[in-house]
Amino acid sequence: MNDNRSVKEKNLELKPSPEKVKIAAFLCKWCSYAGADLAGGSRKKYPPNVIVIRTSCSARTNPLFVWKSLEKGLDGVLVSGCHPGECHYSEGNYHTRRNFAVFRKLLEYIGIEPERFHMSWVSAAEGDKWAQVVKEVVKTVESAGPNTYFSKKKEDNA
Amino acid sequence: MMKVAYYPGCSLHSTAREYDISFQLVCRKLGIELQEIPHWVCCGSSPAHVTSHLLSIALPCKNLILAEEMGLDTVVAPCAACFNRLKIAKQEVAEDSKLKKEVQEVLGKPSAGKIEVKHPLQVIIEDVGLKKVEEMTRRKLQGLRVASYYGCLLVRPPSVINFDDPEDPQSMDNLVSALGGEALPWAFKTECCGASFSLSETDIVFELSGEILNEALEAGAECILVACPLCQSNLDLRQKGIEKRRGKKFNLPILYFTELLGLALGMSMRQLGLSRHIVNPSKLLERKLAVT
C-alpha cells in the first residue's frame, strides 16, 4: 500500500502515502513506555504507524491533547498507562481513567468515530501486550480510514 | 387488617396440624388474614434438594409464582424448612441469571421476585409488634420457664435469612418475655436435632436431640418452645426413647410458639390442639397457667 514511497536522497519533502494511518501514542514513562521498550528488547514486531509521545504519567495526558491530535489531522490516538493500582504516583491513572471515560463520550457525541481513540493499560513487563495493542489499534484505526474531518472544507486558519 | 399469602407446607397439613391450627387462630386474633396459596406444591426440601438442584429451586419458585398471582406482597411459611427453601430459591434466582432462565423454562413463566417471604415469628415481631401482643395478652405466662429452641433452618444461613442472630437468636425469647414467661438463656438454641435422620438413622437423633433436651433441662426449662415441625417431632416423639437410653426423665413438653401465644391470648388447650402432643403438656399448663 505504500509502494511508491521512497526516501530519496536530499529530497527533504516527504510525501507519505495518504492511506497510511498515523497514530500518536501518549505513554507514561513508568509502565507503558517501559513496556514498549521491552517489546523492542524482545524483538516483538508490530506495525510502524504508531509514534510515541512520552509523558510523566497517563494523568498528564490532557484529553484535549487527544482532540488536538485529531484536529491537526492524525488518524488515531492511543493513551496508555500503568494498570490501576500500579501507578508510580499511586493515583494518577485513576484520574486518567475518569477523564477519558467522559471525554470519549464527548468525542462520539460530537461525531468522531470511536475507532480513532484507544486506551490501554500496559505494564513495564507487558512487551507482548504492547505489540498486541499496537496491532489492534492500527487495524481499528485503518478501518476508520484517514482523518478527513477538516480536510474537505477550506480552512482559513492563520 | 393485614393480608398475607399462607404457605402451610406438608407438615402443617399432617404431623403438625396443631401448628397450623394454632397459627391460624393466633392470626385471626391479631388481625392477620391468611389466604392459603391455591394448589401449592412441595417446597423443595430434603427429598428434592438431595436429588436435583434445579428441582429444589423450581419447586419453591412455583409456589412464589402462585403467591404472586394472588396479588399479595408477602408469603408466610411457618415450617422452618419451607421458609428456608422459599428464601433460598428467591435469592438464588435473583443472583444467578442462568438459573433463572432454567427455572423459567421449567415453569413456563418467571417469578417477579418481588414477593417477600416471612416466617410467622417475623410477622408477629416485625409487623404486629411485641408491644401490641403484650397489650392483647389475657393470660400472663406466670414466669413459665421456657427454653426457646430455634433449630438450624430458621436463622441460617444468615446471608439468606437475614433474620435474628444465627448463633444466639432472640426472637422467641423476646416473645416469651413479652408474654410474661421466663426466657432461659442456654447454649443449644441452634444445635442440630438430627432432622430427617429421624427415620433412617434414629440413633443420631436420639443422641443429638437428647443433648438438646438435656441442656434445656439443665438450664431449668419446664418446656421447650419450637418453630419447626421437624424439631418438634424429634424432640417430642423421640423423647421417651431418649429417656430410656439416657436413663433420665425429661418430661419436657415441646410447644409451638403459636400454641403458647394462643394460650396467652386467652385460647384454650383444646382449641389449640394441644392434645396432639406426645409429651402431655396439660399438667404443666394447668398447674402453671390454670388453663384447661
Partner: protein
C-alpha cells in the same frame, strides 16, 4: 531561536541494520531549528560524546537531540554530556529509534520513515525545553517517631546513636507499648520487662531523645527535610517538671478503676501510672473519673503531693516542631472477638484473649502470676487455646495470617505448664506457622516436653455448663468431634491496624491497604520506606510483626532517616509542576487531584485589581511531577517542566506537519 544538533547513533548495527541512519541525519537537517545533524557508530562511547561537545562549539549549538536507544538507558549519560558541553542539562532530548523502532520493524523503508518522525518529534520538543536547575532544600536534623512501643523506642535509640535528635510522641501516659504488657518472650523465654526496661530508661536518659507522652500528632504539613508537625500534649494535670514519681498521690487516691494496662483484670486509681516501670514515672489524672474534676470534692492528691505538682487547671497544649524525617511506629490493636457467636459473643467471662493471659502470667500482674478464671478467681487448670481468631478469616475477620499467634500460644501453653505442671493445655490450630530462628523447635518442645495437646481443627461452639466452659470442636487428624470442659479459653486474636490508622495515613500522605495497614514503597526493595519521601515505617503498623522483626525494621527505618539527615541539603528533581498565578483562578482542582498533597492554597494580591485572592502554590519538594494537576487545570495555569504544554503541542504538531490538511 534554538540551534539544534541531531546525532543519530548506529548502535553498531542494532539501529543501522534496519534504519538508514545516514538518511535520517540528512533529512533531520531540514527540520526547523536544526543547524547540524550527523550519524555516528556509538554515540554513548567516549568519542561519541566528544563529538557532541565538539560540534556544540563548532556550530554554536544550544540544544541536543541524540537518536539512539531508550532514555531509560542513556538519558542520564547524555544529560551529563550536554552539561559538559556547557549547556543546561535539560537542553537535551533522546529520540528512541532502537527499542521503539529498529528492533520492532523489519521493513527498512518503513523503519527509516518512522525514525525520521521520531527524530522530528524530539527536535520539536527540545526547541521548547526550558533550562531547569536542580534545587536544594535544607534539612531539619531531627526525627519524629510516632509511637513509643518497642518499635519507636528502638528507632529513637538508633537515631540518637547516629548523633541525631529524636522525638517520641506517645499517646499513652508511658512509653513501653504492648511489649510492656508481656510476661516472657518466645522462643528464649526472657522476661519482657527485663529486656525492655533498660531500653526505656536509655530513652529517658538520652540527651538527644525527647519524650512527649500522653500526646498525639494532630497535623502534619511540609515535606521531607522540613515537616511541620503539630503535637497535642494532653493535660496530665500533673506538672512533669515538679513530680518525682514518689507515688503518694496514687496511694492515697480513693477512686478505684479497672486498669487498662492489666486488661481490666486489675485495678488502678484515678491518678495513676499505668505500670510500675512507667517512663516517665509521672502519673496522670483520669479526668473522666477524678472526683475533684467532676464534683469538686476530694482533692487529696493535691493536698498530699510534697512537690505541688498537681495542677487541676492544666489544659491541653498544642506545640509545633519541625522535623527532617518521620518514623511511623504506631503498632497494632487486637481484633475484637465479640463478633464470633460461636465463642459466645464476648459474653463469657472465662473466654479471654492472649493479652489477658499475658497479664495473668506476669508475676507483677493483677493475679500475681496465677492463672485464674476471671469469673470467680479460682485457679484455672484446664485451658483451651484457640488460634486464628479473626486471622485467616475472610468472611468475618482479616484475610491475613497474624504471624505471631502460633508462637505466643505455644509460649503461653508452656508457661501455663511451668506455672502449674498439673494444668492441661489444649491448642486448636489450623496450621502451625513457626518460621523463625528456633521457632519450630520451640513448638515441638511445647508438645513433646510440656505435653500440650495440639488439635488440628476449629472450634464450632463454646457454651457454659455447670459453670464450666464446654469447648466443642473437631480434630481433623483423627476425624473425631471433641468436647473439652475447660476452666479458661484463651483466644489468639488477630493483630489488626489501629482504628484511626487511616486518619494518620491521610495526615502523612502515605497509602494503606484494604486492611488499613500502611503500605511500604516496595514490598521487597523498599520495605521500610513509603511513597512519601522522608516518611518511614516500622513494626506492626505495616503488618503483624514479632519483636525481632519489629526491632529490625525500627533499626532499618532509623538508618534510612539518618541517611536523609546526614545531608545538609536535599536535591529535588526540577521536572515538577509550577503555577502561573496570573492565570490561576484559585479553583484548586489541582489540589484535589494531587496524590502528594503538594499543592497549597496561597493568598496573593492581584497585580491588576490590587485585591487579595487565592491561588494554587506548588511545594517543590512534595511534587513528584506526575502532571495530574495540569490536566485538571482548565485555563492552563499550571504546567509541568519537562512535559510542558508547549513541548507536547510541538510534538503533536511535528507529527501532523506532513498530513496535508494542516497549515
Amino acid at each position: 531561536m534554538a540551534r539544534i544538533g541531531v546525532f543519530v547513533c548506529h548502535c553498531g548495527t542494532n539501529i543501522s541494520a534496519t534504519v538508514d541512519v545516514k538518511k535520517v541525519a540528512e533529512i533531520a537537517k531540514g527540520f526547523p531549528g536544526v543547524k547540524f545533524a550527523t550519524d555516528y557508530r556509538y554515540m554513548c562511547s567516549e568519542p561519541g560524546q566528544d563529538l557532541i561537545q565538539k560540534m556544540v562549539k563548532e556550530h554554536n549549538l544550544t540544544r541536543i537531540v541524540v537518536a539512539a536507544c531508550s532514555p531509560s538507558l542513556h538519558e542520564k549519560t547524555f544529560r551529563t554530556c550536554t552539561q559538559n558541553a556547557g549547556l543546561n542539562p535539560y537542553f537535551f532530548e533522546m529520540a528512541n529509534i532502537r527499542e521503539q523502532c529498529s528492533w520492532v520493524h523489519d521493513d527498512r523503508e518503513e523503519a527509516t520513515l518512522k525514525a525520521i518522525d521520531i527524530v522530528k518529534l524530539a527536535t520539536a520538543k527540545v526547541g521548547k525545553n526550558n533550562p531547569l536547575q536542580t534545587t536544594f532544600i535544607p534539612v531539619e536534623k531531627k526525627v519524629l517517631i510516632i509511637g513509643g512501643g518497642i518499635s519507636g523506642i528502638q528507632a529513637a535509640i538508633d537515631v540518637a546513636f547516629n548523633g541525631f535528635k529524636a522525638v517520641i510522641v506517645e499517646r499513652e501516659p508511658s512509653i513501653g507499648g504492648r511489649m510492656a504488657m508481656f510476661d516472657k518472650t518466645f522462643p528464649t523465654l526472657d522476661c519482657a520487662a527485663c529486656i525492655l526496661t533498660p531500653k526505656m530508661v536509655e530513652v529517658n536518659q538520652s540527651d538527644l531523645i525527647k519524650l512527649y507522652t500522653y500526646s498525639e500528632v494532630e497535623e502534619v504539613s511540609g515535606y521531607v527535610g522540613n515537616f511541620k508537625v503539630k503535637i497535642r500534649r494532653k493535660a496530665r494535670l500533673v506538672d512533669e517538671n515538679k513530680c518525682n514519681g514518689c507515688g503518694t498521690c496514687w496511694q492515697r487516691c480513693p477512686v478505684r478503676l479497672p486498669s487498662e494496662f492489666d486488661m481490666n483484670l486489675g485495678k488502678r486509681k484515678a491518678i495513676y501510672v499505668p505500670f510500675p516501670q512507667a517512663v516517665p514515672n509521672v502519673p496522670v489524672i483520669d479526668q473522666k473519673h477524678c472526683l475533684y474534676i467532676n464534683k469538686k470534692k476530694c482533692g487529696i492528691c493535691k493536698k498530699v503531693c510534697p512537690f505541688e505538682a498537681i495542677d487541676y487547671e492544666q489544659e491541653d497544649e498544642v506545640i509545633e516542631e519541625q522535623f527532617g524525617a518521620i518514623i511511623v511506629a504506631t503498632g497494632f490493636t487486637m481484633f475484637d472477638h465479640s463478633i464470633y457467636g460461636e465463642y459466645g459473643y464476648g459474653k463469657y467471662k472465662n473466654v479471654t484473649t492472649g493479652l489477658h493471659f499475658e497479664r495473668m502470667l506476669n508475676s507483677s500482674g493483677p493475679t500475681g502470676g496465677k492463672i485464674v478464671r476471671p469469673s470467680d478467681g479460682k485457679e484455672a487448670k484446664k485451658v483451651v487455646f484457640i488460634q486464628c481468631v479473626g486471622s485467616r478469616d475472610e468472611a468475618r475477620g482479616m484475610p491475613y495470617c497474624s504471624r505471631l499467634c502460633c508462637m505466643y500460644t505455644a509460649k503461653q501453653a508452656l508457661l501455663l505448664k511451668e506455672h502449674n505442671p498439673e494444668a492441661e493445655a489444649y491448642v486448636f490450630y489450623i496450621d502451625i506457622r513457626a518460621a523463625g530462628k528456633n521457632y519450630e523447635e520451640f513448638v515441638e518442645r511445647v508438645q513433646d516436653e510440656y505435653g500440650a495437646t495440639y488439635l488440628r481443627g476449629r472450634v464450632s461452639k463454646i457454651f457454659q455448663r455447670n459453670g464450666r466452659l464446654m469447648v466443642r470442636g473437631c480434630d481433623t487428624l483423627s476425624g473425631t468431634q471433641i468436647e473439652i470442659d475447660a476452666d479458661l479459653v484463651v483466644l489468639a486474636t488477630a493483630l489488626i491496624a489501629r482504628p484511626d490508622a487511616i486518619k494518620l495515613a491521610q495526615m502523612l500522605h502515605i497509602p494503606y491497604d484494604q486492611n488499613r495497614l500502611f503500605t511500604e514503597a516496595h514490598p521487597k526493595l523498599a520495605p521500610v520506606e513509603t511513597v512519601t519521601t522522608g516518611v518511614f515505617l516500622t513494626g506492626a503498623c505495616q503488618s503483624p510483626k514479632d519483636i525481632p522483626d519489629t526491632v529490625a525494621t525500627a533499626s532499618a527505618a532509623s538508618v534510612k532517616a539518618c541517611g536523609l539527615l546526614s545531608h545538609e541539603k536535599l536535591p529535588i528533581d526540577p521536572q515538577i509542576a509550577r503555577v502561573d498565578v496570573e492565570i490561576c483562578s484559585g479553583c484548586l482542582a489541582c489540589k484535589e487531584v494531587c496524590p502528594f498533597g503538594a499543592i497549597e492554597k496561597e493568598e496573593i494580591v492581584d497585580r491588576v485589581t490590587q485585591q487579595k485572592r487565592w491561588v494554587a502554590k506548588v511545594a517543590p519538594s512534595l511534587c513528584n511531577g506526575c502532571g495530574a494537576c495540569n490536566t485538571a487545570c482548565r485555563p492552563g495555569a499550571i504546567d509541568l517542566d519537562g512535559f510542558t504544554e508547549e513541548q507536547i503541542f510541538g510534538q503533536i504538531e511535528s507529527l501532523t506537519a506532513d498530513k496535508g490538511n494542516e497549515r
